[in-house]
């Protein structure tokens, strides 16, 4: 099982990638920062980086304003 943002659960499967998780969660790739088990994932690696079972994935939404 993969936990997203300490809230949502996704069933783990072999070779599941960050891109798969973003698709399941309905995120597009713009203006987010993705971290798997506290490690930052570069946008270039979303399609290649696999996510281990029991991983904690954080998807931070970056909004304009300051």
């Amino acid at each position: 099982m993969i936990t997203v943002n300490n809230r949502d659960k996704i069933k783990w499967k072999k070779d599941i990638t960050v891109a798969d998780i973003l698709k399941i969660m309905g995120y597009d790739y713009s203006l987010i920062s993705v971290h798997v088990n506290d490690e930052f994932v570069s946008e270039d690696d979303y399609s290649e980086q696999t996510v281990p079972d029991n991983a904690k994935v954080a998807i931070i939404h970056l909004a304009h304003g300051g």
């Binding site: 971290h35 490690e39 931070i60 970056l62 909004a63 304009h64 304003g65 300051g66």
Partner: protein
Amino acid sequence: MNYEEIFIRNPIGVRNILKTSTVGIAGCGGLGSNIAVTLVRSGVGKLIIADHDKVEISNLNRQFFFLEDVGRYKVEAIQKYLLQINTRVKIRAVKRKITLDNFNCFFGMADVMIEAFDKAETKKWMISQWVKDYPHIPLICASGLSGYGKSEDLKTEKVGNVYVCGDQITSSDYDGLCASRVALVASMQANKAVELLMDEVYNDYSQQQRQDQVEKRHYGS
């Protein structure tokens, strides 16, 4: 005049620790200007603050500037006010646009870094580059501080060495920026910086205490 009397109402020990600390602030707008003032009042000894913008009349609804500042560089205006709070604070005011290529030059000495940009794209590259270059130095970001009210939606989330303050939803493009909510998130960022600086020193102190205890056990007191 005893300048330390400024901090006589601070929690015990805070000023002694913060006065030797350096905090970097990227951006001197609604977040950065208010964060800088709060950190100097908290007792931080050195700030590095960077922004290439000048004060505009539309900034006065939420930024720590006044009518007389319109047309001045923001970092110069805020430097003046910070020195009026504590003449001994050290301010490095950088009138440059912060980019991927130059941010290392300015912020490499920071004990804690604060992202205070306006644009989400800029926040994004700051996070991606900071975690690569400085994986052990905290970066405190803001996302989702627009609109008004809804204080209960504001939170601080930690991921690795990155902290994100705000609701991560509201956007200035749709919700507008109101001083009451922008200042709340600015204070959350400043408060987290103070907390981390205090924790860091206390952790070092604890490590030293532990080391002392080990030595006592081995070699006697």
